[in-house]
Symmetry: C2
Subunit: 426 residues, 2 copies
């Protein structure tokens, strides 16, 4: 069997060279059409492969998927499919790769093709997983340093625990939505430093946070930590993650128990989950960790991933401006370290959980992952292509994040996560 | 129809006067037996009423429960039943009350009785709800003041936001377990103030937190806040909640994003959900709020509940000692205010969510809701009946929390939430 990541693989489907979804990617998602209802699918070029239809055609028959199929391919989330286990994800991705190869005629027969392939423009993408739990980490040293510099002491920007622990907090799972869902500007309590008392009203400091999240691929038992060397086996794949933030609400509420309503009004994820398997060629070493982490967090080899990221803002009826470009490879703490730390106290994982990186910022002014940092607390407004400028987001703004890895002429991308700001309800 | 809270109601089942489960209570839970599998039940005296069997007998036929029954009574959680809506909970509780009244012969026929009633000692109780989301509030002014006094400034113990916002944080839903589940002492990072670097190992400061949590009874749409006057309609019922805490892990990790692994190794809930309807007679005014809350949190009438609470510690092979007695009525922020605040930014509720009060402490040294406060950071160890003393919990200790409301000779209780500490895995 060919390695599905082999850069020489070609598909019989015509795929533009700038597509995020060549045959080497094959990310999983959930789509819906009026005719088919809800189905699991795989993105290929401008198409989506209907896994339920592929299964009904008998192409998975010898994969030994057990009694869960074909129903598992008709669910409203990937969770049940993910719960079938890593050998299953890999076997299905391998089979899909074979079916789409330029030299395989099986799916090219007209009737099968019509049944199994749809244009992405003809389907509605749903939230790919049902996250029972969501953790937001804080693992970019540049971001943590920037925030510490702005709000505390520039000379001691990083708190004493930061280089020892992948700092994180529990987030709100219920308000995680799929790309394209509009985000309503939240109301909330906030208090200006010089105001006598707080007031309640629309947030005046609405922000995005550029993040990447991983989806857990396995449930574990309460009381059973995951050792660092097995951590990546518990990761199904990755999505782009916009952790919308209301800075004024957050600033007033977050002491001493952390972010709450400043975050829980909505988080957006991209619809296609790029498997960790597909990202294997883009593995790279992370930054040197100094001091060396405690033994339970210590890892050999390369556990970061080289993924280009960007953020664009598009005002209503105006062109978009790319306001930030950075890379996931800069993360100080790896996903494996995050997962092992999360379970080190015995906390259990559940299939479909989301573990977000925290804001990803680079070291230059044009590589910062939030408006808070880009406009440096409002002190250097960000110019947009239409001549306007932004300290924070305005109603009608659409924020779009994109990401892709590239090597040996192969581009494995995430598509995008996008959301438009609706005015607050007053 | 008789009011199911009527204190003059009697059942044909013999119920000891000290029972938490008279005919005026009728809390809902989920139980399992090898023969019956998983069923929804109602506690009555020392018995559990099997709702699936009651339904099969046709006693719910005229309640118009729709196509979900009888299957809804055979689920692994109350969620689907709760999702049927408040009129349904009320109709079922009303019907159960009628069936159990001393003057109703319907269920007393021998065969029906055998089919529908089991001894609680013969069933295993499961976690009653599947919480998709869990928030832990911090709403006892005594507790917040104690913590602020110990760790910050006794003269400014309450932070500036505390009297304006029901402070809270997202907790970990996956590790919430039912009473009786042993709790494994967590490993984690901690650093003594005078230590040069952190170490990883078993928590040395394992604690309980006495809390009450409410279960949300309705899912709401993202972007749709719940006005304060409708908040209680979104509450199904209440459970006792032990928010186990590892103080040393928490102290090292919690700045700046709040509690994380110091809490997520386990939280325990009581198996019976006492409905808000059953607690109606115990409604009482909360403390005066000064300053008056902002308009969206302002409420008239009485929104606290008079529920006696206690905590007991039982070392292995030794008698138990009641170490704290307090009352839920002291909470500064009401459940309605918590729920309205939670949704004020548009955050959506999901059926079965848990919203915990935060540690409930009274104003006297014997009414504090955690070992941290009872032993005042280890400075005044708590004596136990067996002659030992505790600064924090030891392996083998069983912590049991109990709660009941009482009025007009009627005692509406919660049973208990209990958990035994297992040694850490090294």
């Amino acid at each position: 069997m060919a390695n599905p990541n082999d850069p020489t693989l070609r598909s019989w489907i015509d795929i533009p060279p700038t597509s995020d979804f060549p045959i080497q990617n094959l990310p999983f998602g959930v789509f819906e059409t009026p005719e088919r209802g809800t189905r699991l699918g795989v993105a290929i070029g401008e198409y989506v492969l209907d896994l339920y239809a592929v299964c009904q055609y008998g192409f998975f028959e010898d994969l030994d998927l057990g009694p869960a199929q074909p129903k598992v391919f008709r669910r409203r989330s990937l969770n049940a499919f993910i719960a079938m286990g890593r050998p299953t994800w890999r076997a299905v991705r391998q089979r899909v790769s074979e079916l789409l190869r330029h030299d395989n005629p099986a799916l090219r027969e007209e009737e099968a093709m019509r049944a199994c392939l749809l244009r992405q423009s003809e389907v509605e993408m749903l939230r790919p997983v049902k996250p029972n739990n969501y953790t937001d980490f804080y693992s970019s040293i540049e971001h943590a340093t920037n925030v510490g510099t702005m709000f505390r002491d520039p000379n001691n920007a990083l708190l004493p625990n930061w280089r020892h622990i992948p700092i994180g907090y529990h987030g709100r799972a219920s308000s995680i939505v799929v790309s394209g869902t509009p985000i309503r500007r939240p109301n909330g309590q906030r208090k200006a430093p010089d105001a006598e008392a707080p007031t309640f009203g629309p947030s005046q400091q609405l922000d995005f946070e550029l993040e990447v999240a991983f989806v857990s691929g396995r449930s574990t038992e309460l009381g059973s930590p995951v050792p660092i060397q097995y951590a990546e086996e518990h990761i199904f794949g990755l999505v782009l993650f916009n952790d919308w933030s209301a800075r004024d609400i957050q600033a007033w509420e977050y002491v001493p128990l952390g972010p709450f309503l400043g975050k829980s009004f909505g988080s957006s994820i991209s619809p296609w989950v790029v498997t960790l398997d597909a990202l294997e060629p883009f593995r790279t070493a992370g930054p040197v960790q100094e001091p060396e982490p405690l033994l339970y967090l210590r890892q050999l080899d390369a556990h970061n991933f080289d993924i280009n990221l960007e953020v664009a803002i598009q005002p209503e009826n105006a062109p978009q401006t790319v306001v930030s470009q950075t890379n996931f490879r800069h993360m100080y703490w790896s996903m494996a370290q995050q997962l092992t730390h999360q379970t080190s106290n015995g906390c259990n994982l559940q299939v479909g959980d989301l573990y977000a990186s925290g804001t990803i910022s680079g070291s230059t002014p044009d590589s910062l992952g939030s408006m808070l940092e880009l406009a440096w607390k409002g002190t250097r407004p960000v110019p947009l292509a239409d001549g306007s400028e932004r300290k924070f987001l305005l109603d009608g703004d659409t924020v779009t994040m994109r990401g892709f890895a590239e090597k040996d002429g192969v581009r494995v991308g995430f598509g995008e996560v996008s959301g438009r700001i609706l005015p607050a309800i007053i």
